[in-house]
Symmetry: C2
Subunit: 200 residues, 2 copies
C-alpha cells in the first residue's frame, strides 16, 4: 500500500503549485510550513488573498491598481499632465516610479499585443489612449514596454494610434549599467552600437 497523502494537504499543494515558479516540491515544503504554524498564519494569508481580490480595482483613468475609483498618481496635482508613460503592468509602473526619473502620468495596458495568442489591442487597455492623450493635452508619450517582439510591436501600434503632433518616444535599449561588452548578447550589443549617443 502506497502512502495516501491526506486529501487536504494534496489540495493545498495543488493550489500552491499553480503559483508561478513554485513546483510540486516547493509547494510541498510551503504546505508543511503552513501546517507547522499556528492556525492564525493560515487565516491571515487566506484573508489577505481574498481581500486583495475584493479591494483592488483598476483606476478608471489610467488602469493602474488601487483601492479607489482613481489612483494616487492620477489625483496628484503635482504630476506633469503633459507627459504619459505607457507600461505593460502595474509591476512595471512601480519599477519606473522607484527610479524617480518620471513625474508624469501613466497608462497601464495590462498586457502586450500578442497576435499569436489572439490578444489584440481591444483586449488591452489600449483603445482609450488616444482620447486620454487628447483630453489631457499630453505632448510626450513614453512607451516603456519590454524590448521584446511583443513590446516593440505594441510600441509601433501606439505610435500609429496617435497624431503626429504627439511625440512618441521609446525607453532606451542598450547595455545594462554595470554590464560588460564582452558578455553582452549579440542583439543587445548590436542595438547599443546602432543607437550610439554623441558625447559632449
Amino acid at each position: 500500500m502506497a502512502l495516501r497523502w491526506p486529501e487536504s494537504i494534496s489540495e493545498l499543494v495543488n493550489q500552491l503549485s499553480r503559483l508561478p515558479g513554485i513546483g510540486e516540491k516547493t509547494a510541498t515544503r510551503l504546505a508543511f510550513f503552513v501546517l507547522d504554524q499556528d492556525a492564525a498564519y493560515a487565516d491571515d494569508l487566506a484573508g489577505a488573498l481574498v481581500t486583495v481580490k475584493a479591494k483592488i480595482r483598476r483606476c478608471s483613468a489610467c488602469g493602474s491598481l488601487g483601492e479607489e475609483e482613481l489612483c494616487d498618481i492620477c489625483t496628484a496635482p503635482e504630476r506633469d499632465r503633459t507627459s504619459m508613460c505607457i507600461v505593460e503592468s502595474f509591476a512595471d509602473l512601480v519599477a519606473i516610479e522607484r527610479t524617480g526619473e518620471f513625474r508624469g502620468l501613466y497608462h497601464v495596458l495590462h498586457g502586450l499585443i500578442r497576435p499569436l495568442d489572439g490578444v489584440g489591442p481591444e483586449a488591452l487597455n489600449l483603445p482609450a489612449i488616444a482620447q486620454r492623450v487628447e483630453g489631457l493635452g499630453v505632448r510626450e508619450v513614453i512607451v516603456a514596454t519590454d524590448p521584446s517582439v511583443e513590446g516593440e510591436a505594441t510600441a509601433m501600434y501606439i505610435r500609429n494610434l496617435l497624431d503626429d503632433d504627439v511625440a512618441v518616444t521609446r525607453i532606451a535599449r542598450g547595455l545594462p549599467m554595470g554590464g560588460e561588452v564582452e558578455y553582452a548578447d549579440r542583439a543587445t550589443l548590436g542595438r547599443a552600437i546602432s543607437a550610439r549617443e554623441r558625447l559632449g
Copy 2:
C-alpha cells in the same frame, strides 16, 4: 510623492514573505499573479489554507499527520508491528515511504532535541516512544533523523531511553549514491571509511 502601494497588496506581500524561501521580490511577483487571476483562484488557495489547518491532526498513536484519529499506516494490518522507524517530520516519513524499503510502523518526533534553542525531549513526541515500543513488542527501532549534530544527539537519547533488548539502529551515513569520492566533504568521506562494509 513616493508611490503609495495599495494597503491590501502590501498586506498580501507581507503574508507571502513569511513563507520560507520567499523574499519580498518573489512575494510581490506572486501577489501580482494572484491579482491577475480570477477571484476563484484566490478563494481556492485561501480555502485550502484554512481547510488544511482545520482538518489535519496528529495520529494519536505515532504522531504522523492525517485527517483521522489514527493514520493509514497505524491502521494498516499488513504493516510489520515489530519494527519502528523514528523520523523528525511527516515530510521525512513520506520520503522514506517513497523508497519502499520499510514496511513497519513510524513514530514522528516533530522536531529534534535542540538544547541551545531550549527544545528538550518533553517538547517533542519523544517520551511516548518507550511505552509504545513495549506495548507493540517492537524488536527493532530505526532512528532515521538527519545526520546532523541534533539528529545524532536525538538518536543517542532514544538509544538510552529504550531497554537494551530492543535493537536500536541508525540509518547508514556515507557517500550518497552517484556521489564522487573526490568531491565528498571530509566528514562524509571519513565516515564512509570508518563505517566501511565487508563485501561478499
